[in-house]
Amino acid sequence: MTMMKKLLASAVASALMASGAQAAISDNTVKIGYLADMSGTYRDLAGPNGLKAMEMAVADFGGKVNGAKIEIVSADDRNSADVASSTVRRWLENDGVDMVGGLVASSVTLAAVGLLEQNDKLGLVSGAAAASISNESCSPNHIHYVYDTYAFSVGTPTAMVKEGNKRWFILTADYAFGHALEADVTRVVEANGGEVVGSIRHPFPTSDFSSFILQAQASGADVIAMANAGSDTTNAITTAAEFGVTQAGQAIAGLVVFLSDIHALGAEVAQGLQLTTGWYWDMNDETREWSDRFMEKTGTKPTMIHAGVYSSTMQYLKAIEATGSDDAQTVRQHMIKTPINDMFASNGYIREDGRMVHDMYLTRVKTPAESTNEWDLYEIVRTIPGEEAFRPLSESKCRLVKN
């Protein structure tokens, strides 16, 4: 009896959904939520300026899509999965939000994507690094837009080993994220014929890195890799600069480093650091033009997350315009079908596991002599093609991918 009822109910519900999905924009409003760390560690790399980027996208789009107005709500996740989960739940269940963008800390994002799937709304993840977001934890309700730890650990180590830096020392933040990164780097280094001569784990977070850096120096490695993020990375790099690590001939590889980090450190401290980035403001006229407009509004050059938020919001609105619907599945399918060519990516495309595949860039931080102004920080050493940068579908553990 209950079984019958359930079947009947789901049949009715799906019939209703199917008919509603075709041509309507729910409530005649496209409501977008921007969730990010607005006040903590990740403020600079995404934060309030990411919201500005999203507002720019809406304004550039004209503020309306197919006659429906576009509304943005935003909230601070305070880097807490708890806060994120209650905010997103309220947005989706109570406030009629259609899409959630931003999404920076991995824990926050994992909490949000679960809810997005339950409520069948769309998430455009521009910040979170955890590769699992488009691997084990993939869902038909989100897209992983800018980068992931896989891309970071492939980009920099592969290139550096090939340049002849065979001996690696890894400095790892002692928690799940750091461990995963360490394992990835080790795999990539060894696959390319290099060798990990040592590694050390530091508590998360740490402010005094001197003993760790001394051990890394003493290891005789060619490269010291930073398998950590945020303030840990900047603190370690500062300490390394004080000890003259790069001047003594060892290279430093940053794995998860953002333009805002390098800007805060300055070229003097960060010079010579090699890192992988998904986007850089000074690549071509289109990126420069957009970055100048962004800088007028915010006073800083955009990071790759800011650019990703703008680009993904734009793609989302275009998909609604083309399909005439804000139904998550309709929009996502359209986004998967449409190649992405804008200031953020050329010939980018979204795979069925939600991974946006685009070129990544191996860069070296300029020396103070090479740098012409405070934001002129990267020299692009190599373009890493998207197919090489991201985990191939054949290795995917995503349930949406049939292997």
Binding site: M38, R90, S106, S107
Partner: protein, 331 residues
Amino acid sequence: MNQPVNPADIHKVIIEQQKARNRKKMMVNGVLFLLLLAAPFMMYPVFLMKILCFALFAVAFNLLFGFAGLLSFGHAAFLAAGGYTTGYLLSNFAGLSTELGILAGTATATVLGLAFALLSIRRQGIYFAMVTLALAQLVFFFFVQAEFTGGEDGMHGIPRGHLLGLINLEDNLNMYYFVLAVFIGCYLLVQRIVSSPYGQVLKAIKQNEPRAVSLGYNVDRYKVLAFVISSALAGLAGSMKSVVFQLASLNDAHWHMSGEVILMTLLGGMGTLLGPVIGATFVVNVEYQLSQGPLRDWVDPILGGIFVLTVLAFRSGVVGEIQKLVDRNFK
């Protein structure tokens, strides 16, 4: 000529007064109960559940701090232990009914609470607080490193399941009334404990421990029991929270959480029954409202400011101050 007063009459008057007071209390509780019953139709139920979970956490903490005078700085450990245990069991053993998962979480927190209590109870004041903080940090470290918690990422997608295999808790209203029932049960339990002879002994220990010792009470045993009950209720709050939000995260284990519960209790009024509930409601609301507005960068400083103000100017908290006012003016 004064009539000699009959002692039986005096007794009658006292009993009448007591009854009147109880009636008043019943009325207040009744009105609150009706409000809570109707609340999910006026407000978003998940938000109300968040308030109830934190209120239960604060009530648990207050039992220890407000009535036994023991300032534990490690209560986050119990909240997290409850949450993680329940989350792990419900995620990994499909078919386990929700209430068993919650009971298991509560049991874990109880055992952990007993261990904490045995190690810390002989110390007093700041030493007691520091020992509990240190133990809670050990527990935090364990949760960071353990595989099953998901470390920084937390534990996600915990199924809400069915209550007693019958009532679908995926429905927010069902979930709300379940949380409400548990909360009221615990609240009444704490009320009963506080007004029992055992509660009187706790208060005596709080006021003057050497005197309680000299009266022949084994104070350590009373304190251990209070600690264990408090940690069990805190664990229950954590278990409920993980089911409500389908999430258990490191936040629950972080010492910030231990601080937050102290803030809730002090704001509302420690040593009063309703105080922690009001305090939790206030703090959760302020955090939510501020995070929506232009002041969102300022949540922590504002809460800090409120805390300082409370400690300096309204030492007995919202409920405590109101009680004082009523006592002064409407005696």
